[in-house]
Each structure stands twice: as structure tokens, then as C-alpha cells.
Symmetry: C2
Subunit: 312 residues, 2 copies
Amino acid sequence: MGAAQVLVVAGTHGNERNAPWLLEHWLAHPGALDSSGLGLQLVIGNPAAFAAGRRYLDRDLNRSFTSALLEAPGPADREVQRARELLALHGPAGTQPCALVLDLHSTTAAMGNSLVVYGRRPADLALAAGIQALLGLPIYLHEDDANQQGFLLECWPCGLVIEVGPVPQGVVNSAICHQTQRALEAALMVLASARRGDLALPRGLTVHRHLGSLDLPRRPDGRPAACLHPLRQHRDWQAIFPGDPLFVTAGGETLRYESADPGPLWPVFINEAAYGEKGIALSLTSRERWPCESDWAEGLHQLAKQLMAAPG
Amino acid sequence: MGAAQVLVVAGTHGNERNAPWLLEHWLAHPGALDSSGLGLQLVIGNPAAFAAGRRYLDRDLNRSFTSALLEAPGPADREVQRARELLALHGPAGTQPCALVLDLHSTTAAMGNSLVVYGRRPADLALAAGIQALLGLPIYLHEDDANQQGFLLECWPCGLVIEVGPVPQGVVNSAICHQTQRALEAALMVLASARRGDLALPRGLTVHRHLGSLDLPRRPDGRPAACLHPLRQHRDWQAIFPGDPLFVTAGGETLRYESADPGPLWPVFINEAAYGEKGIALSLTSRERWPCESDWAEGLHQLAKQLMAAPG
């Protein structure tokens, strides 16, 4: 077995307080998190933003892991400095190397307990499929969006986001914490199995594949002209068909979802507070059932066999 | 009739987005708000904080209306400057004088559609009783708390807060907006009746009288040692008895509500995101039924007869 660890990040966004609340407890009481025997690095992603109670100080840390930003010469803002620091410490070639990363987030959207995977790396898909087989969590597969780049976990060869909601920014909610811990422990159980080489994936996994995002309707000056329709609010993962209510103006006019395709799509991240500034009122996905490929488990095994056991 | 107007404030806290969303619409479409024929001043309380998407910039505007801050010599921070400006413009002796104020807030706590009254001014109690008779809204009577002073509406001879939740900071939710408008229109209906002199109050009103606030249990260094218990989260206005679960540690230990008094109290503002920094995990109230006093309606009538009709 190797000498790499599993990186567990909480507070990549400083106003998402639930995972940092857990992480502080796990640091003080290592037995409180069932790591399935794996060695972990438990890290607050953005400590300065966490201290300030803000998502970020200069720039969204979870959009700062682009090669353009990481390699830019000259002075860098605080989040880019932190991104470089995280890689120098815990990157695959860092001083405390981590072979993969589990990034713990919360959202104001009613996502429940869910996973976000970025792209189609076999090891990521094996990990997600293994967790889904244990807990049934829905998976949002994010890919091919030129407007959303530079996610933290893309700088590690494997990783995923555990995303739990709804919970307001700045609030610790015990039920949200419980769900977060359940998902993390399931991920570690899958990784331990992959490390041993006995991971048996299910026959298939269900993904919600990112197709694009919708902004609120806006006026010429950029101000929103409508908000989410009450029949769409809190309905993450639920099918939307052309003609369904989508937005409503302040005057009460319903704006409907329009599409030439008569089939349903599945919205996620509906009315996430932090996405207003990104021009995202919700994202649209296609619900797809994929067979688990034979090389996925092998890809995760190759990574996981680098993992060291927990000390003690 | 007189020449004063009703001041309606939205966005006293810049990250409470629902009332400003409505207010912008009412400014563009005055017919969209049933003002019961009263002249209104519609104002964003803290425009700079609203533009920044933050509760406040330097200091909570809704704790800045103390005479000590308003009258202090020398340079003032941005919220104190704004407090002075609001009074100079729309105070009872301002250039566009307002006889009373309705201050529209939202909260991450599950307060539903509710009213907050500060102290026991007869006109305030008449207004609250009249709204409760129309819509049945619960009333939180805040008084005698040396740690919480300087509320905006205390600088007007009459006024109350309309408080609606739960909604995350930074989120516009159509249902929250709808509730806010319903409560505001009911308030204006009561004021119009008081102006005509035909306000008939109910025989009594139910108030939840503020007794004090509880902070989270804290470690010696000030960090929280527990969070709200899941059986208490979202249970605003619901009775708590000694021995009921109140907090839970990250390790799962339940901390119970302790009191020598065996009777119930009624918690409000449970786990409001903005109150963490104030050391308030929830506030405790006594549910009381008060007879409406004969001088309340007269007090509101004396104020309301100063009100001018809406132009047009």
C-alpha cells in the first residue's frame, strides 16, 4: 500500500457552516468519523472566508483551480493563493499527498443528500456508483460548461462533492450535518473496498447529466424581471415539462418553461442563493441510466491502492 | 386630515431580498399594492448593504437608532449616517414626514408570517391587534432587553415589523413575498380604518412577550459547543417545557431545556442566521392573552388622522 491520504475538505465556501462544524468535531474526536481505516487529511478549504462568514473574500475558491489562475505570474488574490497552498500541501504531489478529495458543501436549494461529479473520469464514476448503491443518493454530473470552470476537485485525479440542502447560509442544522456524515462515511467505505480490490459495483448508476443553466429573466439594466415560480421552488430532482410554470413576475404573471423537446428535464440547484451572481436560477439535467463500465472499478482501485491506513 | 405619510421600509437588512423585490414592483406599479387610500413613502432601508448583498456594511442598521449613536459628534459609520438620513427625510419632523413606519423583514427561522412589536405603545398595540384580527398573525412583543436596542421603528411614534420566514439570506421566494404583501395590506387597512375613526378592535390580542434569549452553549474560547436540536429546529411559536431537547453536541449528546418553572415558554427566532454573532440561538417568550384597552384605538386614531390620502 502507498503513502497517500484522502483529502476531506469542509468550508470551501466560508458561509457553508455544516461541514466545518463536523470537521472540527472529527479533528477533536477521530473516532467520531468512521474512516473505514483510511488515513484522512481534514481541512477547512477557505479559513479566511469561514472566519468572515462569507462565501469567499476575493473570488469563489471553487472556481479558482484553473491552470490560468494557478500559473498566472504576479500577485494573486487571496483565494488563488489558498488554491496554490492547498495543492502544495495536499495535492497529489504535495508535502502531505492526497490521492483523491471529498469536498463537503451545503446549499440553499432542496437538493437533499446528493453527489456532484465533474466530468466522466472512471474513478469518479466508480466512487459515485458505489455510494449510490449504498445510500441511493442522486448524482448531478457536471460537464462541458465553459462558464463554470476551476472546481477544486479537478486538480486531484479523483473526487466528488457531497452537496446537502436546503439550509440557509450561515446556519448549522443538525439534520444537514447528519446527512453529510452519512454520505462521507459511505464514500470512505467504497474507497476502502476499492483499496482492498473487492469493490463490486452495481450494474448501473443513475446520473443527472448537466445540459446547461437558466438565468432569471432580466430587464435591460440587468435586474431580475421574475423569480422562481412557487410550483418550482424546492422541487429539485423533479421533472419539468414544456409548459410547466417556471418563473413568476412580481406582478403575478407566470412564465412557463419553453422547449422544442417535449420530454422532461430534471432541474437542480433551484434558487441557490450564491448562484444569483453567477446568473444561474437553476440548472437543467437529463436523467440517464448508465451501465457501470468494467474499467471504472479498476480505475478507482489503481488510485485507492496508493492510500495509506489510518495511524493507530 | 394631515400631511404625513406611512413609511414602508424594505431592505433594512441588505441580504433580506424579498421585501425589496416587492418594493421595486410597487414603485413601478403603484396599483399593485392596495394602500387602502393612504399616502406611502416606499424606501430601501440600507441601499448600500442591499447592493453588496450583505446584512450591513459597518453595523446593523436596525440597532443603530439609539440616541447615543444618532447624536454622537464626529465621523459616523455608514449605517449611522443612513439612520440620520432616514430620519431627516422621513422622520416625524422630516422633509417628507411620516407619522408611522412598517418595516419589512425576513428571517431564516420558521416564523411564518408574523409581527414584531417593540414595547407597549398603545398605537402599536392597536395596529397589531387590528392585523391579528384580520389575519391571525402571531405577535412577538420585544421589550426590556438591554442587549438589543436601537431599532428603527422606535424613532417613529408608531410602527411594527412584519417578519416572514423561513427563507435563506439572499433568496427571493415567491411565497414569502406573497405573505409579506398580505401582512402589509392588512396593516394599511387597519391604519385607514383608524384614520377614519371607525377602527373596531377585537376584545383581546395574543402576544408572545419577550423574556430573554439563549445563546448556544460555548467553549471557553467562544466557539459553539452544540447546535440546535433537530426536534427544536423549525419549531418557532411551539411550546417548550423543561426537559425538552434543546441543543445537541456534534457528538450527539442532547442538552435539555432547564428551568425551575414547570410551565411552557414559546421560542421564537430559532437558529436565525444573523443572530449567531449576537449570541442568540433563540428567544424565549411567554404566550399571553391581553384584553384590548380602550385607549389603544384612540392612540392610533390620533396618529392616523395626521395621514394624508394617496395622490391621484
